[in-house]
């Protein structure tokens, strides 16, 4: 039995890695202008240095694909942490309004920057997003102390999200016309236009936060049994809670700063991975969720930009199409499960 579980885990990881590799490859060769596979090999070997193919591959598609992978992974880990923290299967940065909070502060920053005509560094974007995310997170926490049921918590989060979106719209209305186009594209969620310097920052932040989350997998596993048992097992609850909140906020803030609010990845991927691996052990789940989220977002981004090429869909549109059914399925599955006990 233990061996079977181990075997399943290894096979699933292998499957995810292969899928990630394939999607990575297709993300590079597919697009509005098709690139011959030979150019990709050339780029990877280092023999391709210039030309249109090099520019498209190295300056546009490679950073975009890498960021889709990293941000997708980060978003999913953030969703997994929030689900564990609130013990709520449909918690996630988007549902709880955390992405919208980050979006609001970024919109404000963008408008402010354009009015005062200074260039925004990606570090500033992330910081602004983090402030928005953590403020919304604190609001959700405030509600979570008052409400007993998970459904109420989700409703509170969705409402916070609406308020933030309304405020964002308000701010955009009063901004100059020229700013709106830029803001509008971003606020729908997209991996396009990622530059190498952004990739550098997101790699550091997302990988660091994800590794921290992985190191927390032992207390998370204790926390899954409930707070009183976790406390009895020796988890220092106040510190643990702060860590979880900070990590999930950093991750969702980072994603929102670079790609805008992306829906359903945070909820859907953890459930898909739990189903695939047949376990909820954080030790296995956190790397799996990261990989799975990366694969999911690379796939969705590939669809978003190739389906109606040269027209590009927003990535949120695609993630919603694949993610929302997962949420519905999870709810139905859970309802059945309860009735069998």
């Amino acid at each position: 039995m233990e061996k079977q579980r181990m075997k399943r885990t290894v096979i699933c990881y292998f499957f995810l890695c292969i899928t990630a590799g394939l999607l990575f490859y297709f993300s590079l060769i597919c697009g509005s202008s098709s690139i011959p596979p030979a150019a990709v090999y050339g780029l990877l070997k280092g023999t391709l240095h210039e030309g249109a193919s090099y520019r498209i591959l190295f300056d546009i598609r490679l950073p975009r694909t890498i960021s889709a992978f990293l941000l997708g992974g980060g978003l999913s880990v953030s969703g997994y942490l929030l689900q564990s923290f609130f013990r709520n299967p449909i918690a996630g940065p988007f549902v709880l309004g955390i992405s919208s909070g980050a979006k609001l502060t970024i919109a404000l920053l963008m408008i402010f920057a354009l009015k005062n005509s200074f260039v925004i560094q990606s570090g500033m974007m992330v910081s602004a997003a983090f402030i928005g995310a953590i403020l919304c997170m604190l609001m959700v926490l405030l509600f979570s102390g008052k409400v007993r049921s998970g459904a109420q918590l989700v409703i509170a989060g969705v409402m916070i999200g609406y308020i933030c979106n309304a405020l964002t719209d308000l701010a955009v209305t009063f901004a100059d016309d020229a700013n709106i186009v830029n803001l509008h594209n971003w606020s729908k969620g997209s991996f396009s236009g990622t530059e190498w310097k952004d990739v550098r920052i997101m790699t550091i932040l997302i990988l660091a936060a994800s590794v921290c989350a992985f190191l927390l997998s032992k207390p998370i596993s204790a926390y899954q049994l409930g707070e009183s048992y976790a406390a009895n097992m020796g988890v220092h609850l106040p510190i643990f809670r702060i860590f979880l909140i900070l990590l999930s906020s950093i991750l969702s803030a980072c994603v929102t700063a670079f790609a805008g609010p992306i829906s359903f990845v945070g909820i859907a991927v953890p459930h898909l991975m739990k189903g695939l691996f047949g376990t909820a052990r954080p030790l296995i789940m956190i790397p799996a969720v990261f990989l799975g989220g990366g694969v999911f977002c690379m796939g969705c981004d590939l669809i978003a930009r190739t389906l109606f090429a040269p027209q590009e869909l927003s990535v949120s549109t695609v993630t919603a199409v694949f993610g929302a059914p997962v949420v519905i399925f999870v709810m139905l599955y859970r309802a059945n499960e309860r009735s069998t006990i």
Binding site: M1, R87, L215, S217, K218, S221, A222, Q224, L225, G226, S228, Y229, A231, N232, M233, G234, V235, H236, K274, G278, T279, A280, R281, L283, E337, T340, I341
Partner: protein, 369 residues
């Protein structure tokens, strides 16, 4: 306070938000002892247990665990000394019972919490001890309440504590599982010298399985003592402020309130045969008298609890003419007489006179009201 106490509380005050629920609590538990908290709902038993397990900080007073003050111990050190079993149900996700028991090894594993072979061996042993070994691969959500409690107890055992703290471990269980859990606790206390502190609502079981009983009532530990001291006289009725019915602490027998009207039926009883008749009459709402019963009779406590009037005789004495006279006068006023005694000996010979008298008066009937 005793030497070598594994758990000791000294003028402890517990409660929430500075509001004291139970005050002035002092006790000590030795290794291998089972200490049971009893008391009415809402008296603060769970609050006391939460404070001892460091989930709630004490308002004042001291708790010491194996000689160290609780507040000086780190979470991990407490976890190695004390394990818990609470009433709340676990909501696990894709965890087998083996996984759940494995969480008990948490304080002993490394940074990532990976179980070693040694840990797995202890998990298996704990599950065998708790009679849950066959559930190792079963999903935790798919087992019954009784099995769940066995698995949770195995989890607590796997934590290898010196103190086991349980909040109503037998609630929601059938009588077979109740006895199983309590027998296991007794075995753990005896064989592993684990100190057990628990709260129970089953008084009869608390009486039989505890070395020490703490009665929590009206914000304090009203009485602390061995079961023989606590379960005597009318104290239990007072502790639970019982207004409906009575509790006989000798047998752990709870009976409803007697129908205190004039008796319509006289039951000649003795030897235990009358018990079913008393219960049936009470159920039908018919007030009755019982007699003549010896105070040592098996059915005396039931008759005493349910009958309007009981004519009694001192233990081991033949029934006196005085008692017979009293029984006659009550029988006169009754519509019917039921006799459930089949055998008359030296001591209850006078009851035969009662039967014959009733037969002569045409009042004697079989029990068909």
């Amino acid at each position: 306070m005793r030497e070598n106490a594994v758990l000791q509380a000294d003028s402890l005050a517990v409660g929430y938000h500075r509001k004291i629920v139970v005050d002035g609590l002092s006790f000590s538990i030795m290794p291998g002892e089972i200490c049971t908290l009893i008391g009415p709902n809402g008296s603060g038993k769970s609050t006391v247990l939460k404070t001892i397990s460091a989930q709630l900080s004490a308002i004042s007073g001291d708790i010491s665990m194996c000689g160290d003050a609780l507040c000086s111990l780190k979470e991990k050190d407490i976890a190695k000394r004390l394990s818990v079993l609470f009433t709340q149900k676990l909501s696990t996700e894709r965890m087998t019972c083996g996984d759940v028991v494995g969480t008990g090894r948490y304080p002993y594993t490394g940074t990532l919490g990976i179980l070693s072979d040694h840990d797995l061996k202890i998990v298996k042993e704990s599950m065998e001890l708790a009679g849950a070994a066959s559930l190792y691969h079963t999903d935790f959500r798919q087992i019954s309440d009784g099995q769940r409690q066995c698995v949770m107890l195995a989890r607590a055992i796997a934590q290898q504590p010196k103190i086991l703290l349980l909040d109503e471990p037998t609630s929601f269980l059938d009588i077979g599982h109740k006895l199983h859990i309590l027998t296991l606790l007794r075995q753990l206390a005896r064989e592993r010298q684990i100190a057990v502190i628990q709260s129970l609502h089953e008084l009869d079981l608390a009486q039989k399985f505890s070395d020490m009983v703490i009665c929590i009532h009206k914000g304090k530990a009203e009485r602390i003592g061995i079961p023989e001291e606590i379960f005597s006289g009318d104290y239990i009725s007072a502790l639970y402020e019982m207004q409906h019915g009575t509790y006989d602490p000798r047998f752990g027998n709870a009976e409803p309130t007697a129908l205190k009207w004039n008796p319509r039926i006289f039951v000649i009883g003795g030897g235990g045969a009358g018990i079913t008749i008393y219960r049936r009459l009470h159920r039908l709402g018919i007030p009755f008298a019982a007699g003549v019963l010896h105070e040592s009779d098996l059915e005396y406590p039931v008759a005493n609890a349910l009958a309007s009037v009981v004519v009694t005789e001192k233990a081991f004495e033949p029934i006196s003419s005085e008692s017979v006279g009293k029984a006659f006068s009550i029988m006169e006023r009754c519509e019917k007489v039921i006799c459930c005694t089949e055998h008359y000996g030296t001591m209850n010979a006078a009851n035969r006179e009662l039967e014959q008298h009733a037969r002569a008066a045409g009042k004697l009937c079989d029990f068909v009201p």
